[in-house]
């Protein structure tokens, strides 16, 4: 009997205890999680290898937990990003948050201010003033010089931007060469004396061809890749399309006389069989990689991580030396300086990014829980969020080590003994390249609503060659002068640009192609025809509109 009473008392007290616990738990759980929908395109070269929905990644789960949000992601199928986005806008069936750079007028004609007018997105000015985005505001308070890159001509703050925090992150693309072949040629060039002028390029390309290293030494994947980021036309001091000249005015490369010299040089290379003819056929990334890995190219343009790093990973995998962070045997890709005409000069072109690199994510008018959406998006700009986006979670995807243990060309002393080094979960994934494996834990390898940290870049550079690449590219280009500030157009301006520039682009691409393949002979008369054609199509009007927008940007302090 007594035993029963005791047992009963025990059961009752346990029940009481449990109810207390559950009440406390309810109190702790505070608010209901915010339910949000989020549209974004996955990076098809890195992310889709690891998952089909970002919600399945560790990072997405961590962020949701930290911000108390439940997020449903909508991803467009690969290759249909534009169509699906346009369809979403046309049907006005908007998600709460959209991740797409609407400041890029080819993504949204008229840009951000127009999107506000159209009632697609909301401005964050109110949230900014009312403390709904405290971390974003604090971030720009700490970097006031970048604020003009965030605010539009009309004073709208609209987005959660992708920020390249350190200068070193601004250049991640450039010319590369098969340095192992170059050194075999023994023509006076090596790692420490790289071909840096157009005439060096000429010499080296011919030497590659004569030595039979490959049939077509220079690989360009499309017409536009010949002028990508104005790397080659930049040697002649002109841009491939619009750029800022030394006085800070907008110019259009093809209307400059120096552009003709550039075209003439490329034509010589094409005629002499130094350029892979497939530039006419628009190769994709996979075909570029295949050409490079199967020794079909000696010089080409590509990225540091997704290009060079991935090729090395592939080569190492082929050779069975995957886990070693050593340059693979028999294949070495090496950065070339951005070329110039005179030795020792610096190119005015090459780099391509502002610190506020892209307008990443927006809250739409369809969002009912603006506070929740702000909380979710603002997280990336907090110290904790920035670390998570760049490195993941301590103990799982990274560990703190002393910076001196990293073999890095970048000065990491600021990190002291707290350098966040990615763990083997990323670096030693047996089935995936580092660029792929890290997609589960971070987003710094592509872009997103957070500041990218230089410490991330160092992780990525597994190979010694990569370490030298950034120095070469940064050291050879002084591009900030030629880079356009972020421009905003009025509705009338953007309509006019849209109707003029489609034809101008077509005409330019077509005429340059004809010059290059020889369908039209390149001489003073045909060049004058080309110039007149551009004028007849209204290139001067386009320049006028763009110059006015640049002036507004200067007034805003955007550059």
């Amino acid at each position: 009997m007594k035993k029963t009473t005791k047992a009963l008392a025990l059961v009752l007290s346990l029940m009481l205890l449990m109810s207390v616990v559950s009440i406390t738990a309810m109190a702790d759980g505070s608010a209901e999680p915010s339910k949000l929908t989020y549209w974004r395109a996955l990076d098809t070269s890195k992310e889709t290898v690891m998952f089909t929905n970002w919600a399945d990644s560790e990072l997405a789960k961590w962020i949701a937990e930290a911000t108390n949000c439940e997020v449903t992601f909508v991803h467009p199928p690969a290759g249909q990003e534009s169509e699906k986005f346009n369809l979403m806008i046309a049907s006005f069936d908007l998600t709460d948050i959209i991740e797409r750079d609407l400041s890029n007028t080819s993504n949204y004609p008229g840009g951000v201010d127009k999107a506000v007018d159209d009632g697609v997105i909301i401005t964050l000015n109110e949230a900014w003033d009312n403390g709904l985005v405290p971390n974003l505001k604090a971030y720009f308070d700490a970097h006031p010089e970048w604020l003009p890159q965030l605010v539009t001509d009309r004073g709208n703050i609209t987005n959660f931007p992708f920020i390249r925090e350190d200068d070193i992150l601004l250049t991640s693309w450039g010319p590369q060469i098969r340095i192992d072949w170059l050194e075999e040629l023994n023509i006076g060039f090596d790692e420490n004396n790289l071909p840096s002028t157009i005439s060096d390029w000429d010499t080296v390309l011919r030497a590659f061809k004569d030595a039979g290293k490959c049939e077509y030494p220079l690989l360009c994947v499309s017409l536009n890749s010949i002028g990508d980021n104005s790397a080659l036309p930049g040697a002649y001091g002109v841009g491939w399309e619009y750029y800022l000249d030394e006085e800070g005015n907008v110019q259009y490369g093809p209307t400059q006389d120096a552009f003709k010299d550039f075209i003439a040089q490329i034509k010589i290379w094409i005629d002499d069989g130094l350029v892979n003819p497939d530039w006419q056929a628009n190769l994709n990334t996979a075909q570029l990689r295949q050409n490079i890995l199967s020794d079909n190219a000696a010089m080409y343009f590509s990225n540091l991580g997704g290009g060079m790093g991935t090729w090395y990973d592939y080569k190492n995998a082929e050779l069975g030396t995957k886990s070693e962070p050593a340059n693979p045997e028999g294949f070495r890709s090496f950065a070339l300086p951005f070329p110039t005409l005179e030795k020792g000069e610096k190119s005015r072109f090459g780099g391509s990014a502002l610190h506020v690199a892209s307008f990443c994510a927006f809250i739409t008018t369809a969002c009912e829980d603006v506070e929740g959406a702000c909380r979710y998006m603002d997280f990336g700009y907090s110290e904790e969020g920035k670390e998570m986006f760049n490195y993941g979670k301590e103990g799982i995807s990274f560990n703190y080590i002393n910076y001196e243990d990293m073999n890095s060309p970048v000065d990491l002393s600021a990190f002291g003994d707290k350098f966040p080094r990615w763990s083997d979960a990323i670096l030693a994934d047996p089935d995936h390249a580092v660029a792929e494996a890290c997609s589960l834990y971070i987003r710094a390898h592509s872009s997103g609503p957070f500041p990218q940290d230089e410490g991330y870049l160092v992780q990525f550079m597994k190979y010694a060659d990569q370490l030298k690449t950034i120095e070469t590219w940064n050291g050879s280009s002084d591009y900030s002068g030629s880079l356009m500030p972020r421009l905003y157009f009025t509705t009338e301006e953007s309509e006019e640009l849209a109707s003029l520039e489609t034809d101008i682009d077509t005409y330019k691409d077509e005429t340059i192609t004809k010059f290059l393949v020889g369908d039209t002979e390149l001489n003073d008369a045909t060049w004058a025809d080309f110039q007149n054609g551009l004028k007849a199509m209204g290139i001067e009007k386009c320049l006028e509109i763009r110059n006015a927008a640049v002036q507004r940007a200067y007034e805003r302090g955007g550059k």
Binding site: S82, E83, N86, I89, A90, S91, F92, S106, Y108, P109, D118, G119, V120, Y216, L223, N276, P277, D278, W279, Q280, A281, N282, L283, Q287, N296, T365, A498, S499, T502, D503, T506, Y507, D509, E510, I512, T513, K514, V517, D519, M537
Partner: protein
């Protein structure tokens, strides 16, 4: 049926159309019910969207909706024709379509006639299956294969090099003179089997006594085809031809934009690819609707004309 009743008992004056229809519906309710899905399909998917055609005359803004957007009259039509490349794209659309008509239209008929002469069922079925398989491959994949085959190190260049060792490799898709050939021949390859099905079906309905009559008259195979098969196919051919004429001004942009390059714009840039670059990528919904509407009106006129001519000349017509 209903008609015979009407003959016996002429309609009374007070019996209007609706009353008669009502009676007819009651009488044949199952037949009418079976028609509902078809009617619904046309109303929902073909007549309903006609409401949206008005955006061709407006500056459509999704935020304001179709009704709320501003009327701009013929602005978008004028803008299309004022474009430097308007006539070039019209010309290219017509050219490619005429080539498709010249070479692509007879091809399935010839295939059907040839297959009809084969009396080994196994072989016939195999050929049929193989020829219509490409129809099921998506355009993107076909274009991908073509781009690979036509590149400098692709299959076609390799074959040419094997035949003639002095041959210099070229990027075939970058050659202006080859674009239409590649486009049209790949189109024939992809569609020949599928398009031949209707002709094969028509041929299978030909009375075998007609063939026997040819045999009795001492005709050979060629006579059989010429005097029996083709005349029996003619109504089908005419109908298909009229339908084809109705598409003379339209050509999908998918395959074009996957295959064309800056070097081949001159011959490859068609209305739809131009509209794709100008309209879809730039969100000019109204502009693309205007061009689409213009295209359809021209196609409509073409079908009407072809039908009228055919009715006069051959007595076969769509309606």
């Amino acid at each position: 049926m209903a008609q015979s009743g009407a003959v016996i008992r002429p309609p009374r004056k007070n019996q209007n159309y609706l009353a008669r229809l009502g009676r007819n519906i009651v009488k044949h309710k199952w037949t009418y019910m079976m028609m509902i899905p078809v009617l619904a399909y046309y109303i929902i998917f073909h007549y309903g969207p006609l409401y949206g055609v008005q955006i061709a005359f407006k500056d459509f803004n999704p935020g304001k909706g179709i009704w709320g957007s501003k009327w701009v009259g013929l602005k978008h039509f004028i803008s299309f024709f004022k474009g430097v490349y308007a006539w070039r794209t019209i010309r290219n659309t017509l050219f490619i379509n005429i080539y498709l008509l010249l070479f692509g239209f007879p091809a399935p008929i010839i295939l059907a006639l040839l297959l009809d002469e084969i009396h080994k069922p196994v072989f016939k079925k195999t050929v049929q299956t193989i020829t219509y398989l490409p129809h099921f491959i998506s355009t993107v994949v076909i274009a991908g294969i073509l781009v690979d085959f036509c590149s400098t190190n692709g299959l076609f260049n390799q074959i040419a090099l094997m035949i003639n060792p002095n041959y210099t490799k070229v990027a075939l898709l970058g050659k202006m003179s080859l674009f239409r050939t590649i486009y049209v021949s790949s189109d024939i390859w992809q569609s020949i089997g599928w398009n031949s099905i209707i002709f094969i079906a028509a041929l299978s309905g030909v009375d075998s006594e007609l063939y026997e009559a040819v045999a009795i008259d001492g005709g050979n195979r060629f006579h059989r085809v010429w005097h029996v098969s083709i005349p029996c196919l003619l109504p089908t051919i005419v109908i298909m031809f009229i339908l084809r004429i109705g598409n003379l001004m339209s050509l999908g942009f998918e395959k074009i934009i996957l295959l064309y390059t800056t070097g081949t714009y001159e011959v490859a840039d068609v209305i739809s690819s131009y509209v794709y670059r100008r309209g879809l990528l730039d969100f000019s919904y109204s502009f693309s609707s205007a061009v689409g509407l213009m295209n359809n009106i021209i196609n409509f006129i073409l079908v009407m004309t072809a039908n009228a001519i055919s009715r006069k000349v051959t007595e076969t017509s769509l309606w």
